[in-house]
């Protein structure tokens, strides 16, 4: 436990010292600034266009807030993949890990310490960006989407899945190979999710099945779709008024699969690193 906490502390220290945290926060600030400016103009326009129709105005603001959260989802996945992508493979390649792994520590403590630290950083990053988006919507549009308590944890879980996968890959693969593989899985999840939605919308069962298989291979897009479903009013999602209104709602089982998926990825990372010649 002592070794795990030492590695955890070192990983956080590294993120701060190497300006990784500063760079991600700067990126987040730039995104929020742009989103705020855009939201300001759109909310003025929405108020003018919608006229007395509060419902229409709320739909426009909800759509824009969801677009902000979609961008948050994308930025978070990039951050969650890139933060730990070379933490194991890089240290193995340079030999930095040799003096650490030859100490009286379990190799699993090294993986778990890094996983814990990077998961925390990725979720904190998500909380800052999503919090910023929601704060902007609240202040400028006097609007808060419904179902945040259900939707936001699903998006945070997405970040943890990506961190777990990126660390698992780094235990076995070179940094570039690992990055390509994880983004490849994201691509599968993304296109699979859309195929499933189009299939559900048009009643095409084989297309829906393709999407389900893609979600089993990589459940993150399903998490986003379920989160987006939770964070919009019933009228929007039932009438499929925006691209964020899923025609086929990913089940709760898929959420549990994502949890298991993250744990399996972490376990695979620990096993891979335990057996790896250093």
């Amino acid at each position: 436990m002592n070794a795990l906490l030492t590695i955890f502390h070192l990983t956080l220290h590294e993120a701060a010292r190497r300006r990784i945290l500063a760079a991600t926060l700067l990126g987040a600030a730039a995104f929020l600034l742009l989103f705020g400016i855009g939201f300001h103009f759109v909310s003025i326009h929405a108020a003018r266009e919608a006229g007395p129709s509060v419902l229409r105005q709320r739909i426009m603001l909800n759509f824009l807030t969801l677009a902000g959260l979609y961008a948050t989802h994308f930025l978070t996945l990039m951050t969650a993949v890139l933060l730990p992508v070379d933490t194991l493979s890089g240290e193995i390649a340079t030999g930095v890990v040799q003096t650490v792994a030859s100490k009286p520590v379990h190799r699993s403590s090294i993986v778990l310490g890094k996983w814990l630290a990077f998961s925390m950083v990725a979720v904190a990053y998500f909380a800052v960006v999503a919090g910023g988006v929601l704060l902007i919507a609240r202040i400028l549009g006097h609007f808060t989407p419904p179902g945040l308590a259900l939707g936001l944890p699903l998006m945070a879980l997405e970040a943890v899945v990506y961190v777990s996968l990126s660390i698992a890959g780094g235990a076995r693969l070179a940094t570039v190979t690992n990055g390509i593989l994880v983004f490849g899985l994201y691509g599968i999840a993304f296109i699979g999710g859309w195929v499933e939605q189009v299939g559900a919308f048009s009643g095409n069962v084989p297309a829906q099945n393709v999407g389900t298989v893609a979600s089993l291979l990589m459940p993150t897009e399903a998490l986003w779709q379920r989160a987006a479903y939770c964070m919009q009013p019933a009228v929007m999602r039932d009438l499929h008024m925006t691209p964020f209104s899923p025609a086929s709602l990913p089940s709760v089982l898929m959420v549990w699969w994502a949890v298991l998926y993250a744990l399996l990825a972490l376990y695979s990372g620990i096993q891979g690193f335990r057996k790896r010649a250093l």
Binding site: N2, T99, A101, A277
Partner: protein, 302 residues
């Protein structure tokens, strides 16, 4: 308590088609400074990593401090400086020692005091608060040595510890090794610098293609002397009776004798046999000469 800190039996490691270590059987005694020599690609670093649990052997077995190699408890009493001594270079020297000390289970005042003492010992007290990325190669190696000694180890593994150091740095490493020996710490030294090995090691083994091919006790017996003779009329049988005749021609001969003490008897025998002895020049056989002979002519630079 066993007198050996390291014992291996037929350790073998294969990477795919490549056999890195074929059959490693060695022992290292408590308090011994042990040299592990061989050309590049002989499997020295792989062997060392197997002993430290960084690489699992394909077959064979061994013990480190009486426990199976790779055992975590044994690693608590081991120090290690790797060949390419890369560390978290965004840390300062002191932070690096704190980090590695915590991995050894040290904390608080004991850790701070130990780090301070080692920073002074390796002459880095002035650079302790600077990031390691600003260190020279020699300074990085010295901070690496310090992290290897944080736990007051019973065995220290040094993989090419002097390769990047200037003469003063080498002297510091040599002193450290002597100091460790005086404390009863065993040192496992991988080095290409045969002069360094000769100056510090009690015993060496030569490794070729992952096997020990020769062993020499540097502490107890000399490596052998070669003697150049300028002599007329020396009977071959007299020369051969005192050593191995390597070459002879009119007026000269080259002989290998076991030790320096054999020389007066040789001179006396030659004079008694009627030979005219003009000069007798002994040359101590260097470790390098032995190395080249043991490795054979088929060996090419790695």
């Amino acid at each position: 308590m066993s007198t050996n800190v390291i014992e291996t039996r037929s350790l073998r490691r294969r990477f795919g088609e490549k056999l890195a270590v074929a059959d490693l059987s060695i022992t290292v005694g408590r308090g011994e400074v042990f040299g592990f020599l061989g050309p590049n690609g002989a499997g020295k670093t792989t062997s060392l990593k197997m002993l430290l649990g960084l690489i699992a052997p394909t077959s064979g077995a061994g013990t480190l401090l009486g426990r199976p190699i790779g055992d975590r408890a044994a690693r608590a009493k081991v120090g290690f400086l790797p060949e390419h001594f890369r560390f978290q270079d965004w840390l300062t020297g002191r932070e690096l020692l704190r980090f590695h000390g915590r991995l050894f289970g040290l904390s608080g005042r004991a850790l701070e005091d130990k780090a301070d003492a080692l920073l002074t010992r390796v002459d880095l007290q002035d650079a302790a608060e600077r990031q390691i990325k600003g260190y020279s190669k020699g300074m990085t190696q010295r901070i690496g040595l310090a992290q290897a000694l944080l736990n007051e180890p019973e065995v220290v593994f040094l993989d090419e510890p002097t390769s990047g150091l200037d003469p003063l740095g080498r002297l510091l490493v040599r002193d450290l090794i002597r100091e460790l020996r005086s404390l009863g710490t065993s040192v496992f030294l991988n080095s290409h610098l045969l002069g360094e090995v000769e100056a510090t090691c009690d015993r060496v083994v030569f490794v070729k293609q992952g096997r020990v091919v020769h062993e020499m006790n540097l502490g107890a017996e000399p490596a052998g002397l070669e003697v150049e003779l300028r002599v007329d009329g020396a009977p071959r049988e007299v020369l051969a009776a005192h050593g191995t005749l390597l070459a002879s021609a009119n007026g000269s001969a080259r002989l290998r004798v076991a030790q320096e003490a054999a020389l007066p008897a040789l001179a006396e025998a030659l004079v008694r046999a009627g030979a005219k002895l003009y000069a007798m020049t002994p040359h101590k056989r260097s470790l390098e000469a032995t190395f080249l002979e043991v490795m054979g002519e088929d060996q090419r630079p790695g």
